[in-house]
């Protein structure tokens, strides 16, 4: 086993946040799902309500709120990962050992991603509530989980890049959060502004299909994690092109972040 992974996991699980964050995470997620349940059932009054409707509503609420929460947590685990070695002056010790830059990166990546995955796994009981109501099949849960993991993997890699590029954890974390905001909020705003300009320019009033929108207007949404998650709810035969494109974009972004992180680690000039 890569010694870095063992060290990182050991250190992470000893931190107070090792148990505090999963607890808080479950409390927040439980509250969100409870709120969604009451909102879904309250509108229908005393009339009969389909269990599957509640199930779908709970599942969607859970999937999106879980992604939002994890996107907020990923920078905490990844962006400080390498800067902490710089701050406590242990990076030189790692780089002069026989550990390669790739091993150091992999140890950091696996440990930060595993912790986020731990949160994902701890939410399974909450998810099973939605499953119990019906309307949701194994495919939806599987594709949503795979998509969430892909997004989190990419964001962890970006967080690690920030960690390798900055000297202080606070700076790396701030830039990681700025990236999260850029790909979620900014891309959404850009998309809606451009689509409204496009529709008013072409006097379009009717709702049109996604692929009727020009690619240059659609493009920012392919880096948007929530759009990526939405695309994952499509049936297996309709994953192409939206989901596949998003997956390609996120994998490419992640790979670029990995390459830049390894380059920074190999430069070693800013120990």
């Amino acid at each position: 086993m890569n010694p870095m992974i063992r060290k990182e996991l050991r250190q992470r699980m000893r931190e107070r946040r090792g148990w505090l964050l999963p607890s808080l995470y479950l409390v927040v997620l439980g509250a969100v799902v409870t709120f969604a349940y009451f909102v879904t059932t309250a509108d229908r009054g005393r009339s009969n309500i389909q269990g599957s409707t509640v199930g779908v509503a709970l599942f969607l609420t859970l999937a999106y709120s879980q992604l939002a929460l994890l996107l907020l947590l990923v920078p905490i685990f990844s962006a400080g990962s390498i800067t902490i070695e710089k701050e406590q002056r242990t990076l030189a010790g790692l780089l002069t050992s026989l550990l390669t830059s790739a091993q150091i990166w992999w140890g950091k990546f696996v440990s930060s991603l595993l912790f986020v995955l731990l949160l994902l796994v701890t939410s399974l009981p909450v998810l099973s509530m939605a499953f119990a109501f019906g309307g949701i099949g194994p495919w939806e849960i599987f594709s949503a989980t795979v998509t969430t993991v892909l997004i989190l993997g990419c964001m962890s890699a970006i967080g690690l890049y920030c960690s390798s590029a900055f000297q202080r954890s606070v700076h790396a974390t701030a830039v990681s959060y700025a990236t999260v905001i850029a790909i979620t909020v900014v891309t959404t705003i850009v998309f809606f502004v451009r689509i409204s300009i496009y529709e008013s320019a072409h006097h379009l009033t009717t709702t049109r299909g996604w692929y009727d929108i020009p690619l240059n207007i659609r493009a920012p949404m392919y880096v948007n994690p929530f759009f990526f998650l939405t695309a994952s709810f499509a049936p297996p035969k309709q994953l192409y092109p939206a989901w596949i494109t998003c997956a390609g974009v996120f994998i490419a972004l992640g790979a670029l972040a990995v390459a830049l992180t390894l380059r920074n680690l190999r430069r070693r000039g800013d120990l």
Partner: protein, 311 residues
């Protein structure tokens, strides 16, 4: 064992190393001294494979520190100027992690950790968290970690900084033991008395280049006779200005320091040259009270070499 030839390294246009050359033989305990910003830490980082060089060559055990970095890492143990520790690990976990990082497996791993615990004197505290150790203990732990993989060369960048006198004495004793075991040690330090006590030779570095003392040496031999350049301290009765003027006319004599009734003079050449200087002073009317050969200690040589060069 360590061969550095005309090495150059710049950071954003600022030359940290500017043609520095150094040769350290196997088994030597070699000191490196110079003012702050002289390039000592840059040299140490370069030799420890952490920094690439712009030009020149740097080899350890015949291996290039740039082209054969991984092989060099097996040979060296590097102790940075401000070594860090994982505070939340126990002493044993800390050593075990680095033993793993140096790819020591099975019984070799366990033996290395036990030896490091014994060597650092921390065997009794192996279960304690590193953060509970004193600064001196942490320094011993880091040195023990540096020795885990039995390096042939130790690169120590100001290892005594912040240590109390007892810890410094222990460190000096440990370094002497390591040298006796055949390990080549390059140590940089501002504590000249420590270096004078343990080093065989000391290289002077200033502004990234080989600096020279008043006798023209860029490497001071502490355990061997010096060349035919000597320092004499002259005590005079009354004003020293006439004596300074006489000095200027004597070949091979150079004034290093002058004060009221006191001169420090460097004489290059044979004994006759010394006699000629004394004769010139007496015949010139200087009232010489004392004329004494002075074997300069490292501190005095350092002061003379780097006077007026502090950044």
């Amino acid at each position: 064992m360590i061969d550095v030839e005309q090495i150059r390294k710049s950071f954003n246009g600022t030359r940290a190393l500017d043609g520095f050359t150094l040769h350290v033989g196997a088994g030597e305990l070699f000191g490196l001294v110079g003012p702050n910003g002289a390039g000592k830490t840059t040299l140490m980082k370069t030799l420890s494979t952490l920094l690439p060089i712009d030009s020149g060559t740097a080899q350890i055990g015949g291996l290039s520190v740039t082209a054969q970095a991984r092989e060099v890492k097996r040979l060296i143990g590097y102790l940075p100027d401000q070594p860090g520790v994982y505070q939340d690990m126990s002493v044993r976990e800390f050593l075990e992690f680095f033993a793993d990082a140096f790819q020591l497996t099975g019984p070799r791993n366990r033996a290395a950790v036990e030896r490091a615990l014994e060597r650092s004197g921390l065997a009794e505290r192996s279960r304690d968290a590193v953060e509970q150790l004193s600064f001196g203990m942490k320094q011993r732990l880091v040195l023990a970690k540096t020795l885990l993989h039995d390096p042939k060369v130790l690169l120590l960048d100001e290892p005594a900084t912040g240590l109390d006198p007892i810890a410094r004495i222990e460190l000096r004793a440990q370094l002497k033991e390591l040298q006796a075991e055949g390990i080549t040690i390059l140590i940089s330090s501002h504590i000249l008395s420590d270096l004078e006590d343990i080093c065989t030779q000391i290289a002077l570095i200033g502004e990234g280049r080989n600096a020279r003392d008043t006798e023209g040496h860029s490497v001071i031999q502490l355990r061997a006779p010096q060349a035919r350049v000597r320092i004499y301290e002259i005590e005079l009765l009354g004003d020293s200005v006439p004596a300074v003027n006489i000095l200027k006319s004597v070949a091979g004599a150079r004034l290093l320091e002058s004060g009221v009734g006191r001169l420090l003079v460097e004489i290059t050449g044979a004994d006759e040259q010394v006699v000629a200087l004394l004769r010139a002073l007496v015949l010139g009317g200087a009232d010489v009270l004392r004329f004494e050969h002075r074997a300069l200690d490292l501190e005095a040589r350092y002061r003379l070499a780097f006077q007026g060069r502090r950044p």
